[in-house]
């Protein structure tokens, strides 16, 4: 009898001790797949990656002359850079707005990106979907254009999926220029193909190809680029070789005249830095 009572008492005592610590259980949220791409722009094309709410992304993008200009032009660096400075701000976790300005044509661009769907780890949502709208304004003085003639627009639809370390994005897009020279097209269709492959936590390779579908501006070529992405812990550096010196999808489609596979590519780099506000 004493043994039974003692055993019962011990069991109750143990149960009391057990209630002193809750059982540890992992949370199983239907998490979004993080960092489908490391930055909001791959090389020259926007990615599905968006900013979190109240985060500010600053971007500095440089592209120089073609490397085949040789040592005399220091492989294109002496040809001058087309520089785009930009900031984007996360209004919410799925919607961001941005403004930028580049050297060529002194274009100021306003843009917004909205995530329609995020890929989840459970495969409940297998892909990322996003849409981007952008307006470019040619602010060059003394060229005799009305304000409306200076405007161009871009609508792009982004679908991406991350397969382990490899990310692929398909981006159909439509550009429209209110005013064009000569035989240039007002309307351009493109289909961007982007990829990123993570080598490790610090380095990733990137590539993109932007063929223009249908009618295109005379003398232009489909743009292509490759990059090495470096995560320094605070910045994402993208060291790149690209056929296009322009920034912004509609300007790349409208103006790229170099053929990457013929050795007509240039050095460039993008620097991205996100600040939490």
């Amino acid at each position: 009898m004493i043994k039974i009572i003692c055993t019962a008492a011990l069991l109750i005592l143990l149960s009391e001790i057990a209630t002193a610590q809750l059982p540890r259980e992992r949370v199983q949220p239907d998490d979004q797949v993080e960092t489908v791409f490391w930055s909001t722009t791959n090389i020259g094309i926007s990615t599905v990656q968006n900013l979190s709410a109240r985060n500010l992304n600053t971007t500095i993008a440089h592209t120089f002359g073609t490397t085949n200009r040789g040592i005399e032009q220091f492989f294109g660096l002496d040809d001058g850079a087309n520089t785009r400075l930009g900031i984007d701000y996360g209004i919410s976790d799925t919607f961001s707005i941005g403004i930028g300005r580049m050297t060529f044509d002194k274009v100021v661009d306003l843009r917004g990106k909205y995530n329609l769907m995020r890929q989840t780890t459970s495969e409940n949502k297998p892909i990322d979907l996003a849409v981007k709208l952008s307006t470019g304004i040619n602010t060059t003085a003394g060229i005799g254009l009305e304000f409306s003639d200076r405007l161009s627009y871009l609508t792009s639809f982004m679908a991406a999926r991350k397969f382990n370390r490899l990310s692929i994005q398909l981006t159909p897009m439509l550009a429209f220029f209110n005013d064009v020279d000569g035989e240039n097209e007002n309307r351009l269709f493109g289909f961007g193909i982007l990829s990123q492959f993570e080598l490790n936590e610090r380095f990733a390779l990137g590539a993109e190809y932007l063929p223009v579908l249908g009618d295109r501006n005379p003398g232009t070529e489909d743009a292509m680029g490759i990059s090495l992405n470096i995560d320094t812990g605070g910045h994402i550096f993208q060291i790149l070789f690209s056929s296009s010196q322009w920034h912004g999808e509609q300007f790349i489609m409208a103006n790229n005249r170099d053929q990457f596979l013929d050795g007509e590519f240039r050095f460039g780099f993008n620097i991205h830095r996100v600040f939490g506000l």
């Binding site: 009572i5 259980e25 949370v27 993080e34 320094t232 605070g234 939490g276």
Partner: protein, 199 residues
């Protein structure tokens, strides 16, 4: 009946009362334990010229006022800093695959006045564990009884080096070893007996 027989018959009853009476209150479920599984936790990290905050709404824990027991844990995978790449680096630094929880189990240094609705300053002492390393800590905080629930707030500084966590960084860019931790939770009453039944 001789004395020996009487002793044998009575002794079990005496033992029964000695053993069970102290637990009778618990067993009848008259006491309440306060629990949450959706508390808020955040840490703030400082890097040169910048700071960032990781947040989670999955702080889980309980306060047992009668036993003065406090137990909290958080799944570190639920902490988000707003930048996915940074989150992944953080999980790697904390080795969350092997040590998925940050947890604290301890006791209130003084009892909570459950009749008061004023904010009460409290201290808990116990073991804080993260990255597989446990250290005894004393954490200050406040508890306020509001209607039927408890509001808990606490803040303290966590030194990464104390838990064998190497502050991440490259070259001159390194996260400060001291992390400011803050938690807030609304704990709802649960019947002890219901809990023991696993409901």
């Amino acid at each position: 009946m001789n004395k020996m027989v009487i002793k044998r018959r009575i002794l079990p009853y005496i033992l029964f009362f000695i053993v069970f009476i102290p637990f009778s209150e618990s067993v009848t479920g008259q006491e309440l334990i306060y629990m949450t599984d959706s508390g808020y936790a955040e840490f703030t990290s400082h890097v040169p010229l910048h700071s960032f905050t990781g947040k989670s709404n999955h702080l889980t824990g309980m306060i047992d006022p009668s036993e003065r027991v406090v137990d909290f844990y958080i799944d570190l995978n639920t902490l988000k800093t707003g930048i996915g790449k940074r989150d992944r680096d953080m999980y790697s630094t904390l080795n969350v695959e092997e040590h998925p929880f940050a947890e604290f189990t301890g006791t209130l240094n003084s009892p909570i006045d459950m009749e008061s609705t004023e904010k009460q300053t409290v201290e808990v002492t116990g073991d804080f564990t993260i990255h597989g390393v446990s250290r005894e800590v004393t954490i200050p905080g406040t508890i306020q009884k509001n209607e039927d629930h408890l509001l808990l707030e606490a803040e303290w500084t966590l030194n990464l080096n104390n838990y064998n966590i190497e502050p991440p960084g490259i070259l001159f860019y390194r996260v400060n070893e001291e992390q400011e931790v803050r938690i807030e939770a609304t704990l709802l009453p649960q019947d002890r007996e219901t809990l023991s039944n696993g409901n």
